[in-house]
């Protein structure tokens, strides 16, 4: 009985993975922008980035999903109505990824900000002294060196992001949780079904941790850690 639903759960797993990956991409872009704004000399920009980071981290991700998804849908419809267009249907997958990306962009911006501050300023000055443009200094000097400082926080954010994808079934996405909801009603084995989902999540987080630990070791080559 339950075996019939395993393919469905795996399809849900694939959806969860795709969603998490796309959300991570958005989160990293927003995070880099947020961190750059926070460190900018321009006061309004820095304030805006700080407001973003504080607001997002102080409100639960579930509430943000309701605000952005339901609210966003209404806003789009109102605009469409005002322009005399037919009401648009927002693609739930893209909307879900954007929502998660928006939330975790704030967490990433904190991580990236710390990592940027950890790169010795002399490195940046040296880059400027060579006549590199600001963008080039960022890409060639800042980015490669901040990876090592950002990785521990990044790993943590990614793990929290993966676990947050469990919420997207409330906005109608067909992820693992939605599939499990169907399977539990039909099979009458809710515990077994959710245990399978839990194990699949545990598999994602375990593999991620292994991979990220290796990456961390790779980027820390040649760094001597303090020994007690």
């Amino acid at each position: 009985m339950l075996e019939d639903y395993l393919p469905g759960l795996f399809a849900g797993l694939w959806m969860t993975l795709k969603l998490a990956a796309l959300a991570l991409l958005f989160a990293m872009l927003l995070g880099l922008m947020g961190a750059a704004f926070r460190l900018a000399k321009n006061r309004p920009l820095a304030l805006l980035a700080e407001l973003y980071s504080t607001m997002v981290r102080g409100i639960p991700d579930l509430v943000w999903m309701f605000i952005l998804f339901f609210g966003g849908q209404m806003l789009v419809n109102d605009i469409a109505l005002a322009l005399g267009l037919a009401p648009l249907d927002i693609d739930a997958f893209i909307a879900g990824a954007l929502t998660l990306g928006f939330i975790f962009g704030a967490y990433m911006s904190e991580t990236f900000r710390g990592a940027m501050l950890a790169v010795p300023p002399g490195q940046i000055e040296a880059g400027h002294a060579y006549g590199m443009s600001r963008l080039r200094v960022f890409c060639r000097i800042m980015l490669p060196q901040m990876v090592r400082f950002a990785l521990p926080g990044f790993s943590n954010n990614w793990l929290v992001l993966v676990k947050s994808t469990a919420l997207v079934s409330v906005i109608g996405l067909d992820d693992m949780m939605a599939r499990a909801d169907v399977a539990k009603s039909v099979t009458q084995q809710p515990f077994t079904v959710y245990l399978c989902v839990a194990l699949l999540y545990l598999a994602i987080t375990s593999i991620s941790m292994l991979a990220l630990n290796r990456l961390c070791a790779r980027y820390s080559l040649g760094i001597r850690e303090a020994e007690l």
Partner: protein, 242 residues
């Protein structure tokens, strides 16, 4: 864009005042969120303290089972844990026949149970990490004065570790506050649950959810402020001298 009249009209519902909103019983909204948060944090902390001692133990037979527990609970979403308990427990005839069932068929106790197990896992790792980080000299000094193992633990290791655990624990408390929002998904009317009811009554999304968000934001600031004060008091010995 935001209808302030609607916000003000529905505001009492967040404080559990039934007349104002849809049919909501007594301690809904803010009170329920705070209740879920405090009860699960207290129970979770009580559970985490002994578990942290086992986790920090050098005996593998004691530390490995605790590691497995924290690994599983930290590696899976809290929503899955909540559903496992809320929907899943009913699968077992034994539980349904026992006295436990009077509690476990209620969403309220399922939520507290799930939140407790979840926060206990994170708190265990936070405390165990600080116990392992205790400066060797502190323990040595205690032994040199002739304190027993229990006395060393109770007078030296634990007070020192718990103080140092404060900054990480404040994060955990804030994460738990945000985590309780999922209680609304198992029929409970916490802050998020009340907002959802208003949303389905009024078909307005921004007003109820932004109001709920403002409540959470305020609570987050309050918790952060409280822990900053606690840290100033209990971590005074670790502050750089100026």
């Amino acid at each position: 864009m935001i209808d302030m009249d609607l916000v003000l009209e529905k505001l009492p519902a967040f404080f559990g005042l039934a007349e104002a909103g849809p049919a909501l019983p007594g301690r809904d909204g803010l009170l329920l969120t705070l209740e879920l948060l405090t009860l699960s944090l207290l129970a979770g902390f009580a559970l985490a303290l002994p578990l942290a001692l086992l986790r920090a133990s050098k005996n593998r037979w004691l530390s490995t089972p605790v590691w497995l527990y924290t690994y599983v609970f930290r590696g899976t979403p809290m929503l899955v844990q909540l559903f496992l308990i809320y929907y899943g427990i009913a699968q077992f005839e034994v539980v349904r026949a026992s006295w436990l069932w009077t509690y476990l068929q209620e969403a309220y106790w399922c939520a507290i149970f799930a939140f407790t197990l979840n926060t206990a896992a994170y708190t265990t790792e936070i405390i165990a990490g600080q116990i392992r980080n205790t400066a060797h000299g502190e323990i040595e000094a205690a032994r040199a004065i002739g304190m027993s193992r229990w006395q060393t633990l109770q007078r030296i290791a634990l007070p020192s570790a718990l103080r140092r655990a404060l900054p990480a624990y404040s994060n955990e408390v804030i994460m738990m506050l945000q985590g309780t929002a999922i209680a609304g998904l198992v029929t409970l009317a916490d802050l998020t649950g009340v907002a959802r009811q208003i949303y389905s009554d009024s078909y307005q999304a921004f007003e109820p959810f932004l109001t709920a968000g403002a409540f959470y934001l305020t609570l987050t600031f309050l918790i952060a402020w409280l822990f900053r004060r606690l840290e100033r008091r209990y971590l005074a010995h670790l502050r750089p001298r100026s």
